[in-house]
Structure formats: structure tokens, C-alpha cells
């Protein structure tokens, strides 16, 4: 009788263990998708964080070209765009130079600079000569690739 109970405990206990593992794995997946562990969000004052992020655009999104759909979260650091492997956004575009353009953050606003590329960088229809202020939604065109800032 007792052995029967033990067997049943084994049977369901093991399934429970297996599913707990899957739950743990899904928590990691979730943490990766939404950033930070679910339980840890409260440790950062949410308002302060939101306030800091509100300033200016938060993502650089590729809207056309082979990398279309790629999204890069903007931080403080400059974004280097080109065919070189160490670029932040590595283009596979035949019309892009290896170091093509740079996006730089200055006080929450982003400026695009052409780094002496062969075929040029265009903001809207205008060829970028010196650093130009990019506002969210303005298309930056490099070869076949079109990028824009999104908040």
C-alpha cells in the first residue's frame, strides 16, 4: 500500500519537476524579451527610469533594405554604420562603405555624420555633408538601406 503511494508520488513528482524546469526556462526567455527579471523591476524607481528614457528617440530601426526590421536600442554611445565588422550596424550593402556614417548622441538628440563614404548618406532628400540633427521618423538612406529613429 505504501509502495503504491510512493510510486504515485514519484510519478507526479517527476512530471512536476520537469515542468518546473520548463517554467524556469520560460522565465529566462521572458527576462530576455522584456529586459530584467520580472521580480526585479520594483528595485528601480520606475518613474525616474521612464523620465530618463523619454528624452529623445530610443530605437534605431531599419525600415528598408536587406536588414529591414532590425532594431537597435540607442544608448549614450555613438552608432557606427558601415560594412566593417566592428560597426554597430553591419551593412551587407554593395553601395555602403566600410565606415559609412555615424549617429552621435548629444544631450539626448541624435546627429548623423557621413564618414567620407563613396556613395553618400542622405537625410530625407538632402546629402549629409556635416553633422545634421535627425528627428524621429526622418529617413536616413545609405545605399539600399533606410534607417529611422523611433521613440
Amino acid at each position: 500500500m505504501t509502495s503504491e503511494i510512493v510510486l504515485q508520488a514519484f510519478r507526479f513528482g517527476f512530471l512536476l519537476l520537469l515542468w518546473l524546469f520548463i517554467l524556469a526556462a520560460f522565465r529566462v526567455v521572458r527576462a530576455d524579451l522584456f529586459g530584467g527579471r520580472p521580480g526585479r523591476v520594483t528595485s528601480v524607481p520606475p518613474r525616474a527610469q521612464a523620465g530618463r528614457k523619454r528624452r529623445g528617440p530610443r530605437h534605431l530601426v531599419v525600415t528598408a533594405g536587406p536588414l529591414s526590421g532590425t532594431r537597435i536600442t540607442l544608448g549614450e554611445q555613438a552608432i557606427l554604420i558601415g560594412r566593417a565588422d566592428d560597426s554597430t550596424l553591419v551593412l551587407t550593402d554593395d553601395f555602403a562603405s566600410s565606415r559609412h556614417a555615424r549617429l552621435t548622441n548629444r544631450g539626448g538628440q541624435w546627429y548623423v555624420e557621413d564618414l567620407g563614404s563613396t556613395n553618400g548618406t542622405y537625410l530625407d532628400q538632402q546629402r549629409v555633408q556635416g553633422p545634421l540633427l535627425v528627428s524621429p521618423g526622418q529617413p536616413i538612406r545609405i545605399g539600399q538601406t533606410v534607417l529611422e529613429l523611433r521613440s
Binding site: 517527476f14 520548463i22 526556462a25 530576455d32 526590421g69 532594431r71 544608448g75 554611445q77 565606415r99
Partner: protein, 474 residues
């Protein structure tokens, strides 16, 4: 839509905002959990089947723990930013497989029908060899992009590996009618398993090179963008190669696997659904011809359509497997409580039905979810990694696992004809296990590159903020 992981977030690598989370702690914790699950399974099997625990369990546990500890330390050392879920999922799958094989060993001993001896220790040994390959790949391949340079060499290696069993005499290469083995001095190797990985690397490198041609040049026929005739070359070659495998090695599984992987990688590289349709048409044509020409294909299809009509001959396996799954029901018979040993070759081809019988639908779904997590991490790596070769390679590797699981589980449950592919990581079989360890090592390597924070460009140009010019807003 790509949501950047911690590795791609430039904010994370900015000075002062702290180090990027490597998540190695998460990995270690989950690996511990995986070892716990495996040990629980082993103990339950022993207690249920023999009524006692022997010291073998402790030996096994120590070995198994050491295995994953070593893997973890290696990842910490050589791929610190790697995805934290890849190894733990593999650990649970390998552990479950080992427990199931151990359980079938005991059943064989008790019935006195165990001709091949204990298989679980052998499988553990193979896992150790697999760890060796894992180590070698991580240590040698420091940057996955290097592999693209050896693409054509690897393609040659892959083709040679595929062809070896076809050339060898049947006494060395034939098991159950499929000529895909090399059996030397008690060891049997399926070179096709390694060929698979070599060919995926080649496909990725080739398609990165040629994808613009394959994607852009097209004619529109009946609303469908069709590629030009001359661009059909590679897909036709892949198709012909898989047919040749089928003819000379009588192996449905590898043939289906290779062709499926190639078509899907073509689709991933070009984003054009017409390749999938072309692939499907070629597949249907090939399948129809194979059905007409080859007896063994016809047997497989007939037993698939009506297994119970052939229950005493070709359909015996599948019928037993279906009975097993039925007996298992929702919660299963409990580890050691069923009779999965009734299915022929339960340790390798039919291990999924053994798990279905003993752990029930809940257990089998859990196993499928483990594969799902593994594949999801692979595809996610493919989204996050920044170079085209890495993207295609990780997508191809992840798809290979998914496709294999689908085809095997489809076969075991009667959804698809039986093919003789192995369930990755679970099934008994050295080559499959070792090759899949290599596959995971590649995924770990690429995911490390994907999540690694971007290094700032070496010659730091003067900051825009320091420039004396004033930007005039329009």
C-alpha cells in the same frame, strides 16, 4: 522584429552603466536543476524496477554532474556571453535519454533478452566524447565567421562523409537495410550525422554569397515570383544529392533532413516563399517516384497509412508504439511502470514513444517544449547576431533540430511515415549524440557573438560634443 538582447544593447556597454549581464549564474542554476531532474529519474527507475538503489547511481551522478560542470566552465572561459538556456535544455534531454536507456537496460536484463549488454554506460561515454567535440569546437572556432572561409572544404568533407557508407561493402555499412553506417571493431558510426553539420555550414556560407542573385533576379508567373532557370541550379543539386542518398543508402531520414534544411535555409536567405513551393513540388515529385521505384519506401508508406493492417510485419513497431502511447495516457505509467521494451529498438528510434508511455502526454509535451526552447534560442541568436553568415548558420542549425524532432515524433505517433532519423540528444546512438554536441557548440559560439556587447571602434574619433562648430537647426 528584433528586440535587442543585452548583448546588442549599446547602452549596456556604455561606461559607467555596469557590465553586460552574462547570465552564467542562470546557466549554472539551470544546469543544477537539470542534474537534479536526471538524478531523480535515475533513482525512480532503480527503485521502481529493482526495489533498491545501488552505488552505480552515485557513480553515474558524479560523472553526469562533472560532465556539465566542465561544459559550464568551458562556456564561462571561452564563450562568456553565450545563451544561458542552450546547455541546460541539452542537459535535461541527455539526462532523460540516459535514464530511459537505463530503464530499458534493466527491463532487458530482467527478461533475459538483453543481447547487447548495458547501453546506458556506453551512451554516457558517448556523451563524454560529445563533450570533447564541444570543447574542441569552442576552443578552435573562436569566431564563427572563420568557418565561412572553409565552406567549400566542409562541403567536400560533408559529401565524402555522406558517400562513405554507400561505397563500403554492405557487411560493414548495413544495419536493418539502411546503408548509412561504418562499423569497425565493435564501434558503429553514422557519418551522415556529421555530414549534416558540415553541409549546414556550407549552405550558410554559399547562400550568404549568392542570396542577392537568388532573391532579386526573378520572373513573375501567375502572381508568383519565380527564380530564373539558371538560379535553380543549387536547389536541384541538393535535391539530386538527397535522392542519391535515398537510392544508395536506402535512408529516407537523411535524405528528407538534408533537403528540408536546404530549402528552408534558401527561404531564410532570400525571404521568398516561392522557394518553399518549389521545394515542396520537388519533394512531392521525388517522393512519388521513390514510392514507385523502391520497395522499402513503399513498405514505410503502406504501414503509415494503415499500421494495423501490417501489425504482424512491417507495422509491428509503429503499432506497439501507438499502444504504448495509448497506455501512457495523460500522466503516463510512471518511470519504470510501463512496458516500453515491447517496442523494437525502443532505445534509439522509438525513445519518444517510451517517454510517452512512461511520462504520458504531459511528459512528452514537456520534452517537446525543451526542444522548442532550444530551437527558439537558436532562432533568436539568428535574429540578434549581426553578420549574415551567423544568422543563416544559426537559423539552419536550429531548424535542423526542429525538423529532426518533427520528423521523428511524427513517425512515432503515426503522423508521418517512419524515417529512421534519431531524436537529437535523447536517443541511443553515439554519432547522433556527438554530432549534436558539436551543433550545440556552434550555437553557443554564435550566441556568444550575438550577445557580446559591441566593442567601441578602436581609433576613437573626436566626440561631436567637443567639436567647436555649432549646429544650426533648420
Amino acid at each position: 522584429m528584433v528586440t535587442p538582447g543585452p548583448g546588442t544593447d549599446p547602452r549596456a556597454s556604455a561606461a559607467g552603466s555596469g557590465p553586460v549581464p552574462k547570465r552564467r549564474g542562470t546557466e549554472l542554476a539551470l544546469l543544477g536543476f537539470a542534474v537534479l531532474i536526471t538524478m531523480a529519474a535515475q533513482c525512480i527507475v532503480d527503485i521502481t524496477m529493482t526495489g533498491s538503489l545501488t552505488s552505480e547511481v552515485a557513480t553515474f551522478g558524479a560523472w553526469f554532474t562533472a560532465l556539465w560542470l566542465v561544459a559550464h566552465v568551458l562556456v564561462r572561459r571561452f564563450a562568456p556571453y553565450a545563451d544561458p538556456l542552450l546547455l541546460p535544455c541539452v542537459a535535461v534531454l541527455v539526462g532523460l535519454g540516459l535514464s530511459m536507456i537505463h530503464r530499458l537496460d534493466i527491463a532487458g536484463d530482467q527478461l533475459g533478452s538483453n543481447s547487447s549488454g548495458e547501453d546506458a554506460p556506453v551512451q554516457l561515454l558517448w556523451a563524454t566524447v560529445g563533450l570533447g567535440l564541444f570543447t574542441a569546437v569552442l576552443v578552435v572556432v573562436r569566431d564563427h565567421r572563420v568557418l565561412a572561409r572553409f565552406a567549400y572544404t566542409l562541403a567536400l568533407v560533408g559529401l565524402v562523409l555522406l558517400a562513405i557508407p554507400a561505397v563500403l561493402p554492405a557487411s560493414i555499412s548495413e544495419v536493418y537495410g539502411a546503408k548509412l553506417w561504418i562499423r569497425v571493431a565493435g564501434f558503429s558510426i553514422q557519418p551522415g550525422e556529421f555530414a549534416k553539420i558540415c553541409l549546414i555550414v556550407f549552405f550558410a556560407a554559399y547562400l550568404v554569397d549568392k542570396r542577392d542573385v537568388l532573391a532579386l533576379a526573378s520572373r513573375k508567373v501567375a502572381g508568383l515570383e519565380l527564380p530564373r532557370g539558371r538560379d535553380l541550379g543549387p536547389v536541384l543539386v541538393a535535391w539530386a544529392a538527397s535522392i542519391l542518398v535515398l537510392v544508395f543508402e536506402r535512408d529516407l531520414g537523411s535524405s528528407l533532413l538534408l533537403f528540408g534544411i536546404f530549402v528552408v535555409m534558401l527561404y531564410v536567405a532570400t525571404e521568398r516563399a516561392s522557394w518553399l513551393i518549389i521545394g515542396l513540388l520537388l519533394f512531392s515529385g521525388g517522393a512519388f517516384v521513390a514510392y514507385q521505384l523502391f520497395g522499402h519506401v513503399r513498405v514505410r508508406v503502406d504501414t503509415w497509412l494503415d499500421p494495423f493492417a501490417y501489425a504482424d510485419e512491417g507495422g509491428y513497431q509503429i503499432v506497439q508504439s501507438l499502444f504504448g502511447l495509448g497506455t501512457g495516457g495523460l500522466f503516463g505509467a510512471g518511470l519504470g511502470g510501463g512496458r516500453p521494451d515491447q517496442v523494437p529498438v525502443a532505445k534509439s528510434d522509438f525513445i519518444a514513444s517510451a517517454i510517452g508511455e512512461e511520462l504520458g502526454l504531459f511528459g512528452l509535451v514537456a520534452v517537446i517544449l525543451l526542444y522548442l526552447v532550444l530551437v527558439e534560442r537558436g532562432l533568436r541568436t539568428s535574429l540578434v547576431v549581426r553578420d549574415g553568415f551567423g544568422k543563416l548558420l544559426s537559423a539552419g542549425l536550429a531548424f535542423a533540430v526542429a525538423w529532426q524532432v518533427f520528423v521523428v515524433l511524427g513517425g512515432v505517433t503515426g503522423l508521418l511515415p517512419l524515417t529512421g532519423l534519431t531524436t537529437p540528444f535523447l536517443a541511443y546512438g553515439g554519432s547522433s549524440l556527438v554530432a549534436n554536441f558539436g551543433l550545440v557548440a556552434l550555437l553557443v559560439r554564435i550566441s556568444d557573438a550575438a550577445r557580446r556587447p559591441t566593442a567601441p571602434p578602436a581609433p576613437t574619433p573626436p566626440k561631436l560634443t567637443d567639436a567647436p562648430t555649432e549646429v544650426v537647426r533648420p
